[in-house]
Amino acid sequence: MLSLVCPSWYDSRTAARESLTGEAIGIARILPIGGHLMVVVRVDGLRKEFTRRTRTPGLRGLLRSYVSPRHETVVALDGIDFEMDDGESLALIGPNGAGKSTTIKTLTGILHPTSGSATVLGLVPWKERTRLSLNIATVFGQRSQLWFHLPAGETFDLLAHIYEIPRAEYQARKTALVERFELGPLLGTAVRKLSLGQRMRCEIAASLLHRPRVLFLDEPTIGLDVIAKQKIRELVSELNRNEGVSVLLTSHDAGDIERLCKRVIVINHGTIVLNDRVSTLKRRYLRRKVIGLRLSDADVTLPAIEHTTLLSRSRFGAKLEVDTDRVAVPAVMATLGRLPIADITIEDPPMEEIIAEIYAARSEERGRVDD
């Protein structure tokens, strides 16, 4: 990748716009500061606590809570630190309740932290939220910014007003995004009539109208089928590669990180348990795949496959775990392909298991050091 010393006014948006029109193909969106790559996200000791009212179950507990309410403090983020460079794609993964969404919401200025500091593009999100939001975009898998009853194209127009995008620039950008995200037939359809995958494509395209420099994706593939997930991953990856948009995504799907990100932060109970390259994570912890089979004939005898363990079996179904260090998934599939299969799924092990392995590996390492 080329790096280019640019004057301060030559920002990534200009480069992105030029690259879109073919004016400056290949220019990396890197703004060097003092000879170093620019850090777009810097998080230092970020802590977020929520206060929750607690009570014992039942009517008595409810009445008692009125007389003597009890509160407990829930630590969502426990002093996390990390950085993200310009143009980087970084995944924040962890199980439900780990603190992923809280991190994104704090970095986009939606939540105020209890303590610690953070900057995104040099701005403090919760203090300079409006200014920051002109340069970033946030897509929530569980929250839609599209008007439910209107065609997505109408929301695009509304967003152009919200971001104050000049008319000509908006039209050019919209045309490019519609083409790239294959939204042509969808743009005139009411959002309520779109499938989840189609809606998510529209959501991401809508969030890119103002050419953000950093894209925050909170569970963008949640609830999507395999094909829709694949499409979203391809589009985000292309965006990061071609326009140099920095991507910070949260997911509890290990597949998202494998295909989208170079670096991964694993978060659990509000603390960072791993901050490393995805290749390292794959090599050390993603060494298994789970293959789910639905058979068209009952009671078929499954062949014994080396380095593959049968996890569960029913009359029409089976679950197998493949040790990918020792045998390639396509080789296993080739053997299974001879069976009367109605449906097949390939999944990564659940996040909880990956985290458990990380903890186990760490205690092992610590044990070795102590010895």
């Binding site: 301060s8 006014w9 030559y10 920002d11 990534s12 948006r13 200009t14 716009r17 703004l31 500061i33 620019m38 929520f50 969404s101 919401k105 986009t108 200025g109 939606i110 939540l111 105020h112 593009l121 040099g122 701005l123 939220r129 409006t130 200014r131 920051l132 939001s133 002109l134 340069n135 975009a137 946030t138 929530f140 569980q142 929250r143 839609s144 910014q145 599209l146 008007w147 439910f148 009853h149 209107l150 109408e154 929301t155 127009d157 509304l158 152009a160 007003h161 919200i162 971001y163 104050e164 995008i165 000049p166 008319r167 620039e169 908006y170 009411a190 959002v191 103002h210 050419r211």
Partner: protein, 291 residues
Amino acid sequence: MAGPTDTGPASRTDPASHAGHVSRTEGVGRFTVWAGFLLAYVRANLQSALEYRISFATQVFAMMLNDAMWLVFWLAYFDKFQVVEGWGRNDIVTLWAVVACGFGVATTFCGNLFRIAGIIVRGELDIYLALPKPPLPHLLISRMSVSAPGDVLFGLAGFLWIVRPDVPEVLLFVTCVLTSASILTACGIVSQSLAFWLGNAEAVGEQFSNALISFSTYPTPIFRGAVKLAMFTILPAGFLAYVPVRLFQDFSWWLLFGLLAVAAGSLVLSTFVFRRGLKRYESGNLVLIRE
């Protein structure tokens, strides 16, 4: 089709900043930008409402019928008694017209007014906080009450048909409608923002709004003592109804300026309360879609 701003600076950069942040139009240009923004929302809201034409027309008609029932009741009353605590037929019609139009204007342009508590509790503020517009005005205008234009039509028609005002009275009526709309909006924001502190405050906000409207639609002189004091303090129905009618009965510039000051002050106070509450916002993870 709605289009974005003709002249907008969204992609210009701030040379003072190394990050090259986007700067926006300043000064007079901001007014044009906000007007375009508001217009775009009105258009989107209208389109959204007109997606279901029959439902839209039914709700507008039902609201006008509902308002008319009350007016018919008062007209029947004045056929028998002529006056209630010094207020005549035209005073009651003026009171109803101002409150109905004020409520109609407030909820036409701020359709989310009585839904703020729910938006806070369900974590729906995330969408507004992620966008580069102040969240309070943005969330208020992002929905239009389908039945509210019925209130405006009823109030306007009743006032013009029964009171038969001259031009200065029409101007005064418009001013009073705007102050009533502002005070109603401010009260709605404050009562609904209690959700930041109380959690589920939807019921509290709804009861407060109902009480405010109920007290606004009866002749103020029938209330006395502590109730009357409450109507000019914690439940400011007096400013919605009594002061406008007094202006029509016996106009005074001081009273008008006082009313304008109360309207402006209540909006400032409500914005302050919302902002304070926003620091306590805890978001949420419900699956939501914008309606």
